[in-house]
């Protein structure tokens, strides 16, 4: 399989690999995929006082396209609001990385991982502050 230059770049120089403290109140964690399917993505966000995502980290078990999709996702969501991040579509990721049809689901996984991280963060917030948002 020939990979696009952008996939190769993210694979060889992945952005934002790492881990944030999942127990911290300002961190949301998304864990999607399944080992038995050959792909697992963990994506984490750290949300600043202004409601913007100030840091994002990922770890991925999967093919090069899955690694590239999650790396790109962390790049894109930094500095965004939760709503902006959650509105990123897998098609944008797939298009940016020029993923072939069989690799579209790798980008779907990245979209799911962002949404899961946002949902986890939101679930952690006390009801009042969520209402105040």
């Amino acid at each position: 399989m020939a990979y696009s230059d952008k996939v190769v770049d993210h694979y060889e120089n992945p952005r934002n690999v790492g881990t944030l403290d999942k127990n911290s109140g300002d961190v949301g964690t998304g864990l999607v995929g399944a080992p038995a399917c050959g792909d697992v993505m963990k994506l984490q966000i750290k949300v600043g006082a202004g409601g913007l995502i100030e840091d994002a980290k990922f770890k991925t078990f999967g093919c090069g396209s899955a690694i590239a999709s999650s790396s790109l996702a962390t790049e894109w969501i930094k500095g965004k609001t939760l709503d902006e991040a959650a509105s990123i579509r897998n098609t944008e990721i797939a298009q940016h990385l020029s993923l072939p049809p069989v690799k579209i689901h790798c980008s779907v996984l990245a979209e799911d991982a962002i949404k899961a991280a946002v949902a986890d963060y939101r679930a952690k917030q006390p009801k009042t502050s969520q209402a105040a948002e």
Binding site: Y3, Y11, P14, V17, T19, L31, V32, G33, A34, P35, A36, C37, G38, D39, V40, M41, K42, F58, K59, T60, F61, G62, C63, G64, A66, I67, V102, K103, H105, C106
Partner: protein
């Protein structure tokens, strides 16, 4: 190192070739033997009237004897085909069709090559019953299960000699004995076994045996089927016409390819013992180094009953396709394919009971005639570096380091 091993690869910019179970380069000595039969000795081996034909016929018969010799057969029992795929098709469909009125049952194994499994599926559609035996965790057939599976109307038992993914060697002599006692034919797909392990169709009671040229440093597009004459195995041809090859495979024989297969067998027979010892040492070097560098590397398939040139390793928590992308300097094969990409992970590994997540982390490393120590060392280096890098970015590796039992997690299988 065997003579004629002057195939240079590393200074060409090509990756190091470690995929000898997929195919092998044609040995230069084989090419040499073939060349005259493309040009000056171009005759039709079936032309009985002139020198061109006689020369070609002699060459084909010499080749047939060379093929027969490596499996302890009589040359009259060897039929040339286009490869092991055709040989397997002919053995299974040919025998089943010939005996279809009396016998309607076939026994084979789930880890067989696709061409055997597909021939069986085809016969099932024609109304034959097929038993697909499971294998044990080491990839080997359980002989008691085989005994129990054979029925009164079992026409043929087909069990591969050596598996192409995990390199394990099935107990051929024991299987042959059981089949002979029960009065059923024993066919073995020996594409990965010829020239790698000693084979003797008589000592092993093998009735039909498939050979492929390009797995044994011969050319692609040629193979052979051994068909026992005493007691005679009857089968119906797939390809009819001029009646060549005892009527079992019509068509003008490709003289240069036959010569190539013969020469490849002759070389393999002469050099098998030395080559096996050399590959055994290389494989041990590979395995010892890689397991010294990396924890949690698992060998798939039996440790002792396997050909020397094969290693099938699972690098836990690192997905195979992702790993392949990193080891650009190596040509290996991965048993992994993401389920979502609608490609299944290796059915062979799954048949061993290898957990799906581990099947996704496997590489097949095939060593062969031209593999050097330096190549092994370079391969170990590249694999170890990339596995380490990918584990550092694997969420599974991280969880396991934290003491999380991956099975305790509710994964959303998709």
């Amino acid at each position: 190192m065997p003579e004629g091993s002057a195939i240079e690869r590393n200074d060409t910019g090509y990756p190091i070739y470690l995929d000898y179970q997929a195919t092998t380069p044609t040995d230069p000595r084989v090419v040499e033997a073939m060349l005259p039969y493309f040009t000056e000795r171009f005759g039709n081996p079936h032309s009985r009237n002139h020198r061109y034909g006689w020369e070609a016929e002699d060459a084909v018969e010499t080749a047939r004897a060379q093929v027969a010799s490596i499996i302890g057969a009589d040359p009259k029992e060897v039929i040339f085909t286009s490869g092991a795929t055709e040989s397997n098709n002919l053995a299974l469909k040919g025998v089943a069709h010939f005996h279809r009125d009396k016998k309607r049952h076939i026994v084979t194994v789930v880890t067989e090559h696709k061409c055997v499994l597909d021939s069986c599926r085809y016969l099932e559609e024609e109304g034959f019953r097929v038993t697909y035996l499971p294998v044990q965790q080491n990839g080997l057939l359980d002989l008691d299960q085989l005994r129990a599976a054979i029925e009164d109307d079992t026409v043929i038992v087909s069990v591969m000699a050596v598996n192409n993914e995990i390199g394990v060697i099935q107990p051929l002599a024991e299987i042959g004995k059981i089949c002979r006692e029960r009065g059923t034919y024993f066919h073995t797909d020996a594409a990965q076994a010829v020239g790698k392990i000693p084979l003797d169709v008589n000592a092993m009671n093998i009735d039909l045996l498939s050979i492929s040229g390009h797995k044994i440093y011969g050319p692609k597009g040629i193979g052979a089927l051994y068909v026992r004459r005493k007691p005679r195995v009857r089968l119906q041809p797939l390809i009819t016409g001029g009646g060549q090859e005892r009527g079992l495979r019509s068509g003008t024989l490709p003289t240069p390819l036959c010569v190539g297969l013969g020469e490849a067998c002759a070389i393999a027979e002469r050099e098998m013992a030395g080559e096996a010892a050399r590959l055994e040492a290389l494989r041990a070097r590979f395995y010892e180094q890689i397991t010294a560098r990396l924890p949690e590397v698992y060998l798939n398939g039996d440790t002792t009953h396997r050909i020397p040139g094969n290693l099938n390793l699972s690098f836990a928590y690192v997905e195979g396709e992702g790993l392949m992308m990193g080891i650009k300097g190596l040509s290996v094969s991965s048993g992994s394919a993401c389920t979502s990409a609608s490609l299944e992970p290796s059915y062979v590994l799954r048949a061993l009971g290898v957990e799906e997540e581990m099947a996704h982390t496997s590489l097949r490393i095939g060593l062969g005639r031209y593999t050097t120590e330096a190549e092994v060392d370079a391969a170990v280096e590249q694999i170890a570096a990339n596995v380490s890098k990918l584990r550092a970015m694997s969420p599974l590796w991280e969880m396991v380091q934290e003491g999380v039992d991956l099975r305790s997690i509710q994964w959303a299988a998709h």
